[in-house]
């Protein structure tokens, strides 16, 4: 073993040893972060202060006059529903509006947590971070509460000034307008997002039958239409087959962020990570990522090549020609003369590509040709997707990596650009009588050069069916409030034959209606006879006609329906579909014709807020971006070299938050954005995330970030989200960008001596580990014979042998206190870094479960984000081509917890089951514990964030319903941290006691564990030698972070194995 330690760094500042950044690791917060705070600068008459005074004085008055004994009232049910037991949760299977199958936990009728539905064949019990946080949208105070009809359309709408109308009036008027439009031959245009529901689709058809001039337009900002049209060109079908990510030995991804933002991410993470089982190292898949952007998938890749997207087409074709040249061609169709102009060698030389990458890739795809999956991202054009299809054909892997029996279902194709243009023309020409925004926001989403914003104001009647007012509502006359997904009925069919049901888990909180029911009502002859189960009945009758006969069920329809409702899903037997023949002429008809000019711009998908529809969700705005760790913003991401060329700086001020502005111009359309310098980006390449910059939305999401749709064109560049020939120049001004990357950094200087023993990050390669396993097994046999019968000595010798084989140094911990003995259950956690893809779902699940407040951008910039769990990102290698390592970090529940010794009021103590307990009501807020925590996982309530964030946002009526009643809501001046979900442990203990049995480690699942799509987190009893947790703690790859400081942490990390050749080892040793 050579002693070549790679240096780990968290940011360019740390890489360059910026003094403030190094200094910051020694402390809990960056020095000087609160220097600007001046109490005199606060306005002395703020609304909040006034309210606080008012509250305090009235409370004083109330106590003086009332009976101090008084403990209030207990309000009981008048007639208690039989299914509800006070204090016990009910679970309902349902589906969210994106088709994700969920299990909703409700308490006394209030939904409080969303998790995956284990019965659902796609999600298999897991949902994404965005889905977890949807619960906040249900209680969002900015939701509309009643129908609105505004007489003067010139006024800008403010929430408080919305003129209230009533349903009867708007219904009657709307039906009148619809009839008028239909009779006069004017179009009724319905603009919607993509339709995922078969019954909703049928409803729109029925609506068009009732009002013959109705026409449906559907659009999606982040669509897959290039991929789908390429599939159609190649195979003559619009139904993309589902991908079997777990069947691929080699995955080659071109600008496709399948672990982050594209496709069904939770399913993809699960399937990808299932091939990262450290107990089957020989089965590891290998991920090659070729990209210009630095995506989460790129960060997870074994090999990554920075390559600007203009070159991807040539690269794919060269790879195909290399396969053919090596005689491995599996495509038996007509001649492959299209490949004649390409050669991998030549391509690599021409573009100066990393030789090692090319050789490794060519070698691997030749060796595993029929198990290689090549994919391209949805921002790539049709021609690249056709080339990918050809490459998969040539490799002969199509049948192995795609599942044709469960194709992705297209209920209704998205409108083409020409259709959208014709809609705009018709609106301009006065040929549209009624425009219905069916839960959509086209003004914000559609490219500005389409002219939708100007044209739609010419439509005499505009009806917006929305949850809360959006950009498309501003000039509207009718704003119809609709139900949230958790208040609605619907069905979804994402894959053919998987019918997933949505059922309401709470009655509508406000005076709202389901959007489908509103349409049905306008179709009926009795407009005033609306009832809430209109769509429910419609859905049931549609299922009776169209789904039930397919099921082949022997039960009657009602039993079938209730079974489907109970399970949340009805699975119809898959039809066997053969792979259609590949049509090679698709390649000739649409060649790639873009060359790199100037800068390239990628308009990427945001990781958490979707296309902007979740922008008002504070939880999602505050989950750090998985790659850049930024919160509450978007920006122009670029490489260090590009930033140098443009002479722009980022984070070089004392507090790491000042970013220079740049002006990005795409054929005349320009936008000013702050700069974020990200190691690993391709040079002369800019990426900006869409969905930010909402202007008409609730208080939380308003004016957060910059609206990058301003750069989009309806005619597209390379595609609607990829442009070349973009000009970028430095602009005036500075913007504060907040990234949490350098917050709570572990103290590298303090632990530098420990590097000799173990890193914070430990990584090995698969070949190294295979070799290690052989030697380790041999050592086991040898030592077993040597220490025959003496188990203790054998274990000790084996451990020392293991440390030696892994290339670490042995050390001895000296403790001055005797170790405490845990006789009963002792809780511990293990996190498998092989499986973890840093998706952030655990962080969100923890936020929801434990009532963690949103603190807002200003407080987050001071390092005061309250997340109990964070995902640390470490880079190694060079800033140009970094290697990324992730590490979820939470309270380690140390046996010798340093926080416990320093608490002057004994508010943090150790429990007999090994938990480091935090008792809020005892805490006086000295913050000594956080100061003494080597992992920096303790969070202090500098404010009552429920009052402080966004002017008392949390105190608004509905959000109070969202809290988990089993967890204390912490207030100002209290320290908090991960509790290992102690409320779940207590619940399991009580139910075990009730059943008269002892609690088992597997009885408890923490919120993060339950949510993890990769199943990377294991929780359980370490005193039970048979528990899955104990096995992981004993695993040769298991290690503890900072174990040499003898705090005895109880979270075990399993070292990541990189599937690279041994010479290129990262972080091992």
């Amino acid at each position: 073993m050579t002693n070549s330690k790679p240096k780990f760094w968290k940011s360019l500042n740390q890489y360059n040893q910026k003094p403030e950044s190094v200094e910051a690791t020694h402390h809990e917060f960056v020095n000087g972060v609160t220097d600007e705070f001046d109490v005199n600068a606060l306005p002395d008459k703020s609304r909040r202060k006034f309210l606080a005074l008012l509250g305090a004085s009235s409370a004083l008055a109330a106590t003086a006059c009332s009976d101090y004994y008084d403990k209030g009232e207990i309000i009981t049910y008048n007639k208690k529903p039989e299914t509800i037991t006070y204090g016990e949760a009910n679970y309902y299977a349902s589906t969210l509006n994106n088709g994700a199958g969920v299990l909703v936990k409700t308490r006394e009728g209030r939904p409080i947590k969303i998790d995956g539905n284990p019965e659902h064949p796609i999600g298999k019990g897991k949902v994404s971070a965005g889905d977890q946080a949807v619960i906040m949208d249900l209680y969002d105070p900015s939701r509309l509460r009643y129908p609105i009809k505004k007489s003067d359309s010139k006024l800008v709408l403010y929430k408080d000034e919305m003129p209230r109308s009533d349903w009867e009036k708007v219904d009657t008027q709307i039906v009148g307008k619809l009839k008028e439009a239909a009779n006069s031959g004017k179009e009724i245009a319905i603009v919607t997002h993509s339709i995922l529901s078969p019954t909703q689709n049928k409803l729109l058809i029925d609506f068009a039958a009732k009002y013959p001039t109705a026409k449906v337009y559907s659009y999606e900002l982040l669509n897959e239409s290039e991929k789908i049209s390429a599939w159609f060109d190649s195979y003559g079908s619009y139904d993309l087959p589902s991908t079997k990510w777990d069947s691929a030995d080699i995955i080659v991804s071109f600008e496709c962020d399948f672990l982050g933002t594209e496709g069904n991410v939770t399913e993809q993470i699960r399937q990808f990570s299932s091939r990262r089982d450290m107990d089957m190292p020989e089965k590891f898949n290998k991920l090659y990522q070729v990209e210009g952007n630095y995506s989460l998938t790129g960060a997870m890749a074994d090999y990554r090549l920075r390559l600007t997207p203009e070159l991807h087409y040539g690269f794919i074709m060269s790879l195909a020609s290399e396969i053919v040249k090596k005689g491995k061609n599996a495509y038996l169709g007509s001649d492959l003369s299209v490949l004649s102009g390409y050669s991998l060698q030549q391509f690599a030389d021409q573009n100066k590509l990393n030789k090692k990458f090319i050789d490794e890739l060519a070698h691997d795809i030749l060796a595993h040709s029929d198990k290689t999956l090549v994919v391209a991202g949805s921002s790539m054009p049709n021609s690249v997707h056709v080339a990918v299809n050809l490459l998969n054909e040539v490799l002969g892997s199509v049948n192995n990596v795609y599942d044709f029996s469960r194709a992705n279902k297209t209920q209704r194709a998205l409108s083409t650009n020409d259709e959208l243009k014709s809609l705009v023309n018709k609106m301009k020409g006065g040929n549209v009588g009624v425009l219905i925004h069916f839960d959509s926001n086209p003004v914000f989403h559609l490219p500005s050069d389409l002219g939708y914003k100007d044209a739609y104001q010419k439509v005499p009647t505009i009806i917006s069916l929305v949850e809360s007012a959006n950009e498309s509502c501003q000039a509207n006359q009718y704003i119809i409030p609709i139900n949230h997904a958790l208040e609605s009925w619907n069905d979804f069919e994402l894959r053919s034959g998987y019918y997933s049901l949505q059922q309401p888990v709470i009655a509508p909180i406000h005076d709202t209606r389901q959007k489908e029911a509103a349409l049905l009502n306008w179709m009926s002859d009795n407009v005033t006879g609306y009832s809430h189960d209109l769509y429910h009945k419609y859905l049931m009758s549609n299922w009776e006609i169209s789904v039930y006969p397919l099921s082949g069920s022997v039960a009657d329809f009602r039993s079938f329906w209730f079974a489907a409702l109970h399970d949340g899903v009805a699975v119809i037997k898959a039809g066997q579909t053969e792979k259609p023949a590949f049509n090679i002429s698709a390649l000739n008809s649409n060649p790639f014709k873009f060359a790199k000019q100037n800068y390239t711009l990628l308009l990427g998908a945001a990781y958490y807020i979707g296309d902007g529809r979740f922008a008002n969700n504070g939880w999602l705005q505050e989950v750090p971006h998985p790659v850049t760790k930024s919160v509450w913003d978007n920006y122009a991401m670029m490489s260090p070299a590009t930033a140098k060329e443009l002479d722009v700086k980022f984070g070089e001020d004392k507090l790491n938050r000042e970013a220079d502005m740049v002006e990005v111009t795409v054929s005349g359309r320009s936008l000013k954005l702050p700069v974020l310098i990200q190691p690993g980006m391709a040079d002369n390449f800019i990426s900006v995330e869409l969905g930010y910059g909402r202007t008409s939305i609730g208080d939380v999401g308003k004016d957060v970030g910059f609206d990058a749709t301003a750069l989009m064109s309806i005619n597209g560049g390379i595609t609607s989200r990829l442009y070349t020939g973009v000009s970028v120049k430095k602009a005036e001004g500075i913007h504060h960008l907040v990234t949490t990357q350098e917050h709570h950094s572990l103290d590298e200087e303090f632990v530098k001596d420990f590097h000799l023993k173990r890193h914070i990050i430990n990584e090995y390669t698969v070949p190294f580990y295979l070799d290690f396993n052989k030697k380790y097994d041999e050592a086991k046999r040898r030592l077993k014979a040597e220490f025959a019968g003496d188990e203790v000595a054998f274990k000790k010798a084996l451990k020392s042998e293991k440390i030696h084989l892994l290339g670490h140094h042995e050390y001895k911990n000296h403790s001055i206190t005797p170790d405490r003995v845990y006789t009963d259950v002792k809780w511990g956690m293990a996190i498998d870094l092989n499986k973890c893809t840093a998706c952030g779902t655990c962080v969100t699940a923890c936020n929801v479960e434990n009532n963690i407040p949103v603190v807002g951008k200003e407080e987050a910039s001071k390092g005061r984000e309250m997340h109990w769990m964070r995902i640390d990102t470490y880079f190694s290698g060079t800033p140009e081509d970094p290697v990324t390592s992730f590490q979820p970090m939470l309270c380690q529940h140390c046996d010798n917890a340093p926080c416990e010794n320093v608490c002057p009021v004994v508010a943090t103590t150790h429990s007999p089951d090994g938990l480091n307990q935090m008792t809020y009501n005892r805490c006086v807020g000295t913050r000594y514990c956080a100061n003494n925590c080597p992992y920096k996982v303790r969070r202090y309530n500098f404010f009552d964030f429920r009052n402080d964030f966004a002017d008392g946002y949390y105190r608004q009526d509905t959000l109070e319903l969202m809290h988990n009643p089993e967890v204390t809501v912490r207030s100002r001046g209290v320290m908090e941290k991960c509790t290992f979900c102690t409320q779940r442990i207590q619940e399991a203990r009580t139910s075990a006691a009730k059943d008269g049995r002892k609690i088992k480690g597997t009885d408890v699942k923490t919120a993060c564990q339950e949510a993890c799509p990769a199943s990377a987190i294991t929780f359980g009893d370490m005193n039970d030698p048979e528990s899955p947790l104990s096995k992981l703690r004993e695993h040769p790859l298991g290690y503890h972070v900072l174990e040499t400081i003898s705090v005895k942490p109880n979270v075990t990390y399993l070292s990541r194995l990189r599937n690279t050749v041994t010479e290129e080892k990262h972080g091992e040793h």
Partner: protein, 190 residues
């Protein structure tokens, strides 16, 4: 040395004053403790429901009304519908039953005054106690004899811990053996 008024004030008056103040604080603290803890609180209820009549004289089991006491953390105050199981026919002419029927028919909850309360950061679990065979009376007193229910025991952390540490001393009537209850923070606070 001449004695001044200052000396007198410092040596006699001050200690006496301090002593008197401390004593009055101490006395008030101990004498008023039960009252501070809420012992003796017997508010007037919206309906003059008599536990003595129902639980005592008619010997209706506690769990007939407090349905979830052995299932969850809450004992649960019964919904009006539970009362109406009997009172749809029983004693419908009495003024209190007329009040009850009114609540029930108007679909209104009965605003019962709360008597026993632990702070919201303490998570007391009824089921964990009741399923161990601990009698309700240990905390709530002999409700069967109460015309108007009042709090008889202190509901402070000290009171909880006292019993958790020495269950048999505090519940001498318990025949089966009980282990001491947990005393770590997370048992009640989370």
């Amino acid at each position: 040395m001449k004695k001044t008024i200052l000396d007198y004030a410092l040596k006699v008056k001050l200690p006496v004053t301090v002593f008197v103040i401390l004593m009055s604080f101490a006395l008030t603290y101990f004498i008023a403790k039960p009252e501070r803890d809420g012992v003796g609180y017997a508010p007037e209820q919206p309906i003059a429901f008599s536990h003595k009549l129902h639980a005592g004289d008619m010997a209706i089991d506690c769990q007939y009304c407090h349905t979830s006491v052995s299932k969850t953390r809450h004992a649960s105050i019964p919904a009006a519908s539970i009362c109406m199981n009997c009172h749809k026919v029983a004693r419908t002419d009495k003024p209190e039953i007329i009040k009850l029927t009114e609540y029930y028919n108007n679909n209104q909850p009965i605003p019962w005054k709360r008597i026993h309360r632990v702070p919201e950061y303490a998570y007391f679990n009824h089921a964990a106690h009741v399923t161990k065979g601990i009698d309700c009376a240990n905390c709530h007193g002999d409700v069967r004899k109460m015309e108007v229910v009042s709090q008889v025991k202190s509901f402070t952390m000290g009171a909880c811990l006292e019993c958790h540490r020495n269950p048999h001393e505090n519940m001498p009537q318990m025949t089966q053996a009980v282990n001491p209850g947990p005393t770590h923070c997370n048992a009640c606070h989370r």
